[in-house]
Amino acid sequence: MRRGVVSSEQFTGWAFVTPAAVIIGLFGAAPIVWSLVMSFQENNLLSPSTPFVGTANYRKLAHDPVVAQAIQHTLVYTVLFVPGTMAVGLFLAVAMNRKIRFISLYRTAAYATIAISTISEAIVFLWLFDPSYGVVNYFLSWFGVPPQQFLNSPSQALYVIVIMTIWGWTGFSVVIYLAALQGVPQQLTEAAAIDGAGPWQAFRRVTLPLLSPATLFLAVWLTINALQLFDEVYLSTQGGPLNATTVLVYYLYTQAFQQFNFGYASAIAYFLFVVIIVITVIQFRVGRRFTYYRS
C-alpha cells in the first residue's frame, strides 16, 4: 500500500511540475548552459569565429579593477536596498491592511510605483536630486545643509540609486506583504491582545513569525534582483560618475555591447551567477531556521 502511495506521489509530483519545468528548462536553463559555453570563448559578436580560450576570460576577470569596484558597489547596493525595501514595504502593508476609506486608492498608489516605467522614474529622480534645481537640496537647505552633488558625486551617487530603487520596489513589497497578511488570522492577534500583549509585542510575536515565509520570499527575490541591478543605472548615471554606480550587470552590458567582448561578459555573468547562488543558498538555510510554516 505504502509503496503504491509513494510511487503515485512520484508520478503526480512530476506530472504537476512538468509543463512549467519544460518551459523554464527550454527558455531558462538551455540559454544559461549556452552562455556558460560562451564564457569560455573569445566572442566579439561580430565575426562568427569564436575560438575557445579556456579560462582566459575568468583570469581577466580576476585582475580587472573595474570588476572589483563593480562587486563592491553591487554588494553595498544590495545590503542597503533589500532590508530598506522590505522594511518600508512591511510598514506600508500593515498600514494598508485595513478597511478604512480610500484604502483601495492607497493600495493602487503603491502598485502604481511598480507599474510606472523606469524611464519616468529616472527622470523624476534626476530632477529631485539635481544639485542646483532639485527639491532635495532645497529641503536640506532648511536645515542649513549645503547643496550636495548627489549624482555628480562619486561618493553619493550610489546612495541616490538606492533611494530611487527603494521607491520603485516598495509597491512590490507592499503587495507581497498584503497577500501574506491575509494568512495571519485575526483570532491569533486578538488572542494575544486579550492575553495582555501590547500591539508591538503582538506584532513581533504573532504577526512577524507568520509572515516569515513572505519575508524569506522577499529577501531572496529582492536580493536576486538587487544583485542584477541594471535599468536604473543605465537610464540615469550610465555607471558614472567615474564608475561610482557601475554594478556587475551594467559592466557586463558595456563589455558586451559597447566593447564587443561578449565572451568576457558571459564570464562576468557566470561569476555573478555563482555569487547569487551562494547568497541564495545561505538565505534559504538561515531562513529554514527562522521561517515558520503553519503546516
Binding site: L45, L46, I123, S132, Y133, T237, Q238, G240, T254, Q259
Partner: protein, 433 residues
C-alpha cells in the same frame, strides 16, 4: 470567489491561445521576396516626429516610383539598434538595412554579412565625393566602404541672445577665442538666480568625449599618433584643453554639469544657461529662447583654428540574399540622391548630407526660415577637418578618455596627472589590440 473550474480556465486559455495563434498567423513574416515578384526589404531606423513623417513620405514615393519594390521600416531606437542587430546576426536573421552610429563602424565592418559597398559607391551618378569628407571617412574602414552616410552634423556654440544683452556682453564673433568664452561664461554665471554660463554632459560616455575632442584639435593637438599606435594627447594642446574645462567647471563654477543627456537642453530653453556647445539637432528644443549660433572658439597661436567635430551615421546593408542586397542598394542610392537629400534636409532640419545640396543658398535660406541658426551649422561643416580614429579599439579608448574628462570636471584630478594616466591606459589598450 467560486472554486476554479479547471475546465473553465483551460477553455479560456485555449480561446486566447487560439486568438494569439491567429494573430500570429495574420502576420506575413517579413521580407520573403518572391511570390508575385514584389521584393520587400526591411529597414531598421530610429526616426521620430518630423523625421518619421518625412521618412514615411520618402518610402511611399520610392514605392510609387519603383513598382514591385517594397520597403518595410521598423522603428528601433538608435541606442538599441546594436543589440538588436548583433542578436539578429547571430541568429541568422539580420535586417536588410540598419541605421548604425558612425562610432560603431570600425567594429561593424567585421561582421561578415555586412555588404561591401566600395564598388557600389563608385557607380556613375552616385557622386561619392559629393558627400562630406567626415561622412566618407566614417563610412570607410580600412579602405572598404561599409555604409552610406545617413546623417551629418557638427558642434558649434548656441548662445542665448537675451542673456548676453542683459549681461551687457557682445555676442560671440567668428574670430573669438576660448579666453573670451570663459570670460563670457563667468559673467553669465549668477548663483543667486541659479544661472550658469555654460554646461557639459558628464555621463562619461562618448558623449562626454566628443565634446572635448574639438578643443584638443583647436589647441593644435591630436588624439593618437598617425599610425594609431600610441596616444598623442598628453601634450601642451591636451593640457590647454583640459585647463579650459577645469577653469570653468572647478574654478569659476560657470559650468553646469549634467549627468543625464537631456537636462542641459531644457535648462537652456528655460533661460538658465548662457552658451552651449551642441549640434543642430538641439535647435528645435529651444522654442522659448532667442538664440544665436557661432563657430566654436579657437586658441590663439595654434594651427587648430575653429575646427569642429562631426558625428556622421551610416546606413549599413546586410547580405540576406543577392536579390535583397541589390534591392537595398537601389533604395539607399535613391534615398541619398541629391533630390531626396534636399527634401529630407528641408523637412527635418537635418544638415544636408551632400555638399552640392549644402552649398545651395536657396536650401540654406529655406532651412533657416524653418529653423533659425541651422545655416550656421551647414557653413560650419567646412570646419570639419578630421574624424575620430577609425579603429576597433576606439570604444575602449572612449571609456578611458571619458573618465579622464569627468575626473577633471569634477575636480577629482589635476589636468596633467589625468592626461598622463589616461595616455598610459590608452597605450596599453592600443598595444593589446
Amino acid at each position: 470567489m467560486a472554486a476554479f473550474s479547471k475546465a473553465y480556465l483551460a477553455g479560456l486559455l485555449a480561446v486566447l491561445t487560439g486568438a494569439a495563434v491567429l494573430a500570429g498567423c495574420g502576420t506575413d513574416s517579413t521580407s520573403s521576396g518572391g511570390g508575385g515578384g514584389a521584393q520587400t526589404i526591411q529597414i531598421w531606423e530610429g526616426y521620430t516626429a518630423a523625421e518619421a513623417k518625412a521618412f514615411s513620405h520618402l518610402v511611399s514615393e520610392y514605392e510609387a516610383q519603383h513598382p514591385g519594390q517594397k520597403v518595410s521600416p521598423l522603428f528601433v531606437n538608435n541606442d538599441n539598434t546594436l543589440q538588436k542587430v548583433l542578436t539578429a546576426v547571430r541568429g541568422g536573421s539580420p535586417p536588410d538595412i540598419a541605421y548604425l552610429y558612425g562610432s560603431w563602424a570600425p567594429n561593424v565592418a567585421q561582421i561578415p554579412q555586412v555588404a561591401n559597398l566600395t564598388q557600389v559607391v563608385q557607380r556613375p551618378g552616385v557622386n561619392w565625393n559629393d558627400f562630406w569628407t567626415g561622412e566618407r571617412a566614417v563610412a570607410t574602414v580600412n579602405g572598404k566602404v561599409i555604409g552610406i552616410p545617413a546623417v551629418v552634423d557638427n558642434l558649434a556654440v548656441v548662445y542665448n541672445k537675451t542673456l548676453f544683452a542683459k549681461a551687457g556682453l557682445q555676442p560671440p564673433g567668428p574670430d573669438w577665442t576660448w579666453q573670451e568664452f570663459m570670460a563670457d561664461a563667468k559673467k553669465l554665471t549668477n548663483p543667486a538666480i541659479k544661472q550658469f554660463g555654460t554646461a557639459y554632459v558628464t555621463p562619461g560616455t562618448e558623449d562626454t568625449v566628443w565634446h572635448w575632442e574639438p578643443l584638443l584639435w583647436e589647441a593644435g593637438g591630436q588624439l593618437l599618433t598617425p599610425d594609431n599606435k600610441k596616444a598623442a594627447f598628453d601634450s601642451a594642446a591636451g593640457l590647454a584643453s583640459l585647463n579650459t574645462l577645469r577653469t570653468m567647471a572647478v574654478t569659476d563654477k560657470s559650468m553646469y554639469l549634467d549627468p543625464s543627456d537631456s537636462t542641459y537642453s531644457n535648462l537652456f530653453n528655460s533661460g538658465k544657461i548662457g552658451m552651449l556647445v551642441t549640434g543642430p539637432w538641439d535647435l528645435s528644443a529651444f522654442p522659448n529662447v532667442k538664440y544665436g549660433v557661432q563657430v566654436m572658439p579657437a586658441y590663439p597661436g595654434t594651427t587648430g583654428g575653429h575646427q569642429t567635430i562631426s558625428g556622421p551615421d551610416n546606413w549599413v546593408i546586410f547580405n540576406n540574399s543577392p536579390a535583397r542586397v541589390a534591392a537595398a542598394e537601389q533604395f539607399l542610392l535613391w534615398l541619398t540622391a541629391p533630390a531626396q537629400v534636399k527634401y529630407w534636409a528641408v523637412q527635418t532640419g537635418n544638415l544636408p548630407s551632400r555638399q552640392s545640396v549644402g552649398d545651395s543658398a536657396a536650401v540654406t535660406q529655406q532651412m533657416n526660415a524653418a529653423l533659425p541658426g541651422v545655416g550656421a551649422f551647414i557653413a560650419n561643416l567646412a570646419n570639419v577637418k578630421q574624424a575620430r580614429p577609425q579603429i576597433s579599439q576606439y570604444p575602449k579608448i572612449s571609456t578611458i578618455l571619458g573618465n579622464m574628462v569627468v575626473s577633471v570636471l569634477l575636480g577629482k584630478s589635476q589636468p596633467q596627472a589625468a592626461l598622463t594616466a589616461a595616455a598610459q591606459q590608452v597605450d596599453q589598450a592600443l598595444a593589446a589590440g
